[in-house]
Amino acid sequence: MTISRRDSLALGAAALGAASIPIIGAKAAFDDVPTADVKPPEFKIEKGASLHMIRPAKFIDPDEVYWKKNTEEFTKKTGVEVKVDFISWEDLRPQLAVVANTGAGADIFVSFGADPHIYSEKLVEMTDLADYLGAKYGGWYPLALLYGQKWNTKNWLALPLGGGTGPVMYRKTWVNEVGYTEIPNDLEKFLDLCQKMQKNGHPWGMSLGHALGDANGYSEWLLWSHNAFVVDEKGKVALDSKETIAALKYATELQKTMVQGTLTWNDVGNNQAYQSGAIGMTFNGVSLYYSMLKSPDQKVQAMAADTFTQDTPYGFSKQKPMSAAPISAMLFKHSKYPNAAKEYIRFMMEKDQYGLWLSSCLGYWCQPLKAYGKMNFWSSDPKLKPFATALDSPFYDGYKGPISAASAAVIANYTVVDMFASVVSGNATPESAAKQAAKAAERYYKKA
């Protein structure tokens, strides 16, 4: 039954013109969003207002289709024209820099991670809107609070719209073949699983190249599952620790169970390898599963059916050592129509719109507001489970320290990734790599 539901949604996404079908089908589903009775803040839309929004490009079609559809509804209701540009992830940051530094262009910019903190001085606070939505929809998840609010305050810099995460994706048959029913949380057992799978001709693979999302995600998992972290609570670099050394040694063993060439993979490397059957396990967002599911190739569809998902192994961590990259809507002070902008974001976050968009994205985005986690579609397919709670995690880029330009710079410069890469390839000892990476991280934290 779950298949037919997914298929109907995929069809709905494809049939852009025939919008009535998914709307009717989907509308009934939004009763599954529990809401509190809260009066919405009154944002008086400015006369003659029009808006320009830039947001990340889709990875799956419904993301764009239903975003546009909801936006059209807004225009119909308010008369405010909204131009939405979908920009590829790579171009997002440079464009954001231009908009922020020139004080012209988009009113609303949706970007990911720490960006609201980097541009905090140029943004209109969203506290009124965020407080309202939080009260109505059961509160915000920890990662939404962390990334949305200014560090150690209750002031909202931006409004989190959603987040994606990359849990383990594996071929069940191949995992079962070596005597495991699921992915073990224990690190030794996980290594054992990987070794046995590799011996069976099904290595796994995760990038330690310069892949912004995948490689940083994998190396953060290595750190957190060993209770290691880049900085402590005060933002002091604490990377050079015995936990990090343990993580480095573990990564070296794990690397031997991988397919070759993972050090060269960019963000699509593991997707390609998984879909071609070259690897039997990886960490990835739901887009991989989704693209296999709608492949015209029967063989690939069978792979999708055999693909299962699970949280990344906990290791020594008490909570799942897996973060998510939330995207947040920033409203720039240079916008001439801040009220219209807030009203637009509010409209998009209300259940009739957000519920449609979220459920159509099939787990590609996880909601920042807890009430949306109760939606039925999350339990329609057990494979979506790890994605349903993506933002319910205490871990974030630059974990334990404040979110800042420095934590973003460490990610963008692959400081931790390169530490792992140089060790697993035998080009550095764990001890020297940890020291060097700590020094490199200090360069950024000193400046912040």
Binding site: I118, Q260, G261, T264, Q272, S276, A409, D418, K447
Partner: protein, 322 residues
Amino acid sequence: MGTTTADVGLQRLTFTRKPDGWLTRLFDNKSFLVFLCMLPTIGLLVVFLTYPLGLGLWLSMTDATIGQPGEFIGFDNFVDLMSDPIFWMSVTNTIFYTTVATAGKFALGLWLALLLNHHIPFKAFIRAIVLLPWIVPTVLSAIAWWWIYSPQFSIISYVVVDVLHLRDTYINFLGTPWPARWSLIVANIWRGIPFVAITLLAGLQTISPSLYEAALLDGASGWQKFRRITVPLLMPILAVALTLSVLFTFSDFQLVYAITRGGPFNTTHLMATLAFQRAIPGAQLGEGAAIAVSMIPFLIGATLLCFFGVGRRKWQQGEAND
């Protein structure tokens, strides 16, 4: 008819000229006129060259980040970079990359130019095809090379392993530092050959065939003709092509960024890619600008070396060749 016009012309000349106004005198002044004619160029240079360059220099001396204008900190960024092993790796990478790739491009480009200079069928067509790698947008060719070097889907590996059975495993082109560097250099040479070949071909065609005929009569060998006629006469254009090619290669960004993005662990970073990574995704504008500014002395040095070292000829000082 002709005489009439001439007469009219003569009559005109007899008019007495009024004394010139100050404006006329000003415009008759040669230095003023020279200055005036150069104004548009100066304007263009200031707007499109001096301003960005000046801004880059200024940024390199601030702690600007994306989002914050930053404050003047003098040479702190540069001092900081001195102790940054990744920066020094990018410097040595850039020098190595430029030297080897340029040498490769010139060896192969010159060879290709000499081949194309012969009479061959479909000459014009072949010459046009040779230009292709240079015409295709670099990003596109970079993606093609990225596929060629893919650890799982490489066409080279496929041929070597699955067709010829020369190896058991696919080649890991980009996974370790040295193979990755060489792979990038090969891609860069492939892209740069057409420019060198076509430029040198143009140079070869300006050499008068009579010189070769004379040499033939004197009984010169092919090598002697090349050494004594082709090389010296090709030198001026070689110097220009070399300078341009060194500049292109030194500031290469797209190939490396699209294929390895500086990985594995920064061993293929060039100064240009590192500057971008630090400045834009990393948001440290000041530091990124400092890396970019650090390229300037190398670029000037390389230009001077090519221009005066290789092609020191009188034509460069505005005189005729001997």
